[in-house]
Symmetry: C2
Subunit: 359 residues, 2 copies
């Protein structure tokens, strides 16, 4: 082990609660008293079935999911959801509305176009996706309206739940469980686990049962939400380990007081870091102030020629994963749920020190 | 921890090498000296990229994969491959040939029928899939011929590599790496990890590059083999943990001497258990003798009324996961690669004892 704590600002897979990692190690040794490792037992055994029931119950409790919604866990990440959403929800001859707020939204649009007609109601591509468009009209006859609530690469985030007259579909991969959400405003939510809730390899989908009743097509089993709902995420062998760790993360979220408390902590952490970016003479934030993400804080050095110097400085201070995405450059501090305030403070401290040394 | 070693005969997820589980626990604590947990670091970091390179190299070495083949890791299990194979390899207006040897082969056929025309060249459904059909003709104009090399539920297995005039596609989920295979006879092989090579959540695909050059269709990205090959299994976030453990399992396979040595051990273990089934007056095997699987040993009590008694007896002797699939009944001992000879001996001993007590 390195001697110093490494502060993990990775954009994803990203930091997870130590309690969840410890739970995973225990279960790898001896899962639920079976004397066997979690990854060697049948998913149809009573021990794992209990985990599956618990993770769904915990998701419902934490997110306040009302009756009439199902929670399932599937594979393939958000990238497979981009296609599955359209395949399931876009009937022949209809169109779907999309808000284009970044790379992942663009990919969602491209995959949906393989299924049917897509109308992009607004895009912030004109300013390198540095803001969330606010003036647009969603056609009343759209089969659904698709949004990306947090844009990992550009550091923008939708801070409230939209009102939509057509079914609202949201990719919440990178801000799921980071604040209380009014689930009743959404018809389908999907989230790749590897940012805020667990290891890569599982995707949580929350879907209004009513929405699935409208599907007329015969679909491939693994791409059919109805199949996964009907089989309680056990149509085939689910990603057992990832689901187990998601449940451990949910238990941790409950232990700290649920999503209201998590949101408070996230506001504090982001406030600290954006405060430093705005005060520090060397740095500037890249996202529109009102759309700044609480999860991915993107910033650049005013003097780009100092980039490598700052990276090295961060490395010396055990700050890891701060490189910005190549399409934005600069720096990105991903400060997901499980990131402690101490890590944000360490970064802020390092930025201050760097400024006093090099300003 | 229970006081006694539990012998894990689970059909899948199933037993894995202790060395792989230990490696996973170490990496959860401190991955590759990063000071961070394996499940919290970027898949694009140099540490995980090294794992991805190594797992591909190890697969190629262990299985003797010739030049001109790619190895990728995808999500969704064999169940998603059932559809992906047809989507990628069955052009409009062509047909695909399938050998129906069980439940999973039947599902593969059903998913392919969503894409195009399927010809089932032979089926052993007439005798509850207790044998592998041998007399059949594959149409010369078939786009491919699909086989299931090991039938987990029925305990039958193809013991040699078929010669096929059309591209040969094999579901090897439950016997991958259990014996040396002549990869050059196959055009595409897929295997859900959770039987012989790793935790649920990753599927290994070995594909002849030439085969993919014939694809004319525009496919959804996540369902397109070309996309995964081109991106080295990193088009999106891969199932990091499962892939890591697969590599640990490959390292273990190499340490014991590779697939020739593994095959010898598997023959010995299966020989021991089938020997007891044939000698013991209480039991009878359900699969045709010449098609008996080395991985899943299916047997019944001649007197079905003793089933529960034998189950209880096994439980007392710390033998776990022996219940046969509901479509066959009786007992199934899954004795995958990682199962030690000691566990098979424990089962044989228990069968002998049970017979001397109750015969």
């Amino acid at each position: 082990m390195p001697q110093h704590k490494v502060h993990n600002f990775s954009a994803g897979p990203g930091v997870l609660p130590q309690a969840a990692i410890d739970g995973a190690m225990d279960a790898l040794r001896n899962f639920s008293g079976t004397g066997l490792s979690l990854i060697t037992v049948s998913h149809r055994g009573k021990e794992f079935e209990a985990v599956m029931e618990e993770v769904v119950a915990n998701a419902k409790e934490l997110l306040g999911i009302p009756a009439g919604y199902s929670v399932i866990f599937v594979q393939g990440g958000a990238s497979l959801q981009f296609y599955m959403v359209a395949l399931n929800l876009l009937p022949n001859g209809r169109k779907a509305a999309y808000l284009n707020t970044g790379t992942w939204a663009t990919k969602a649009i491209q995959e949906a176009q393989l299924v049917g007609q897509v109308e992009v109601v607004a895009s912030s591509e004109d300013k390198n996706f540095s803001y969330i468009p606010k003036q647009y009209a969603v056609p009343a006859d759209a089969a659904y309206f698709h949004i990306t609530t947090n844009n990992t690469i550009y550091g923008t985030e939708l801070h409230s739940d939209l009102d939509s007259k057509v079914p609202l579909v949201a990719d919440m991969s990178s801000d799921i469980c980071s604040r209380p959400v009014d689930i009743s405003k959404y018809d389908l939510i999907y989230a790749g686990a590897q940012k805020n809730i667990g290891p890569a390899g599982a995707t949580m989908v929350i879907v209004k049962d009513e929405l699935l009743q409208g599907i007329q097509k015969k679909l491939p089993s693994m791409l059919d939400y109805r199949v996964h709902v009907k089989n309680g995420s056990m149509y085939n062998t689910p990603p057992v380990f990832s689901i187990f760790v998601i449940n451990e993360t949910f238990k941790w979220l409950k232990s700290i007081g649920g999503l209201s408390e998590m949101y408070k902590l996230n506001l504090e952490k982001a406030g600290l870091l954006y405060g430093e970016i705005d005060e520090n003479p060397l740095f500037v934030g890249t996202a529109a102030v009102e759309d700044r993400s609480l999860m991915n804080v993107c910033f650049v050095l005013k003097d780009k020629s100092m980039d490598n110097e700052f990276f090295d400085y961060c490395k010396q201070h055990h700050l890891s994963g701060l490189k910005g995405h190549r399409s934005v450059g600069g720096f990105r501090a991903s400060i997901y749920n499980a990131m402690g305030r101490d890590s944000v403070e360490a970064l802020v401290h390092t930025m201050k020190e760097f400024a006093s040394k090099y300003a």
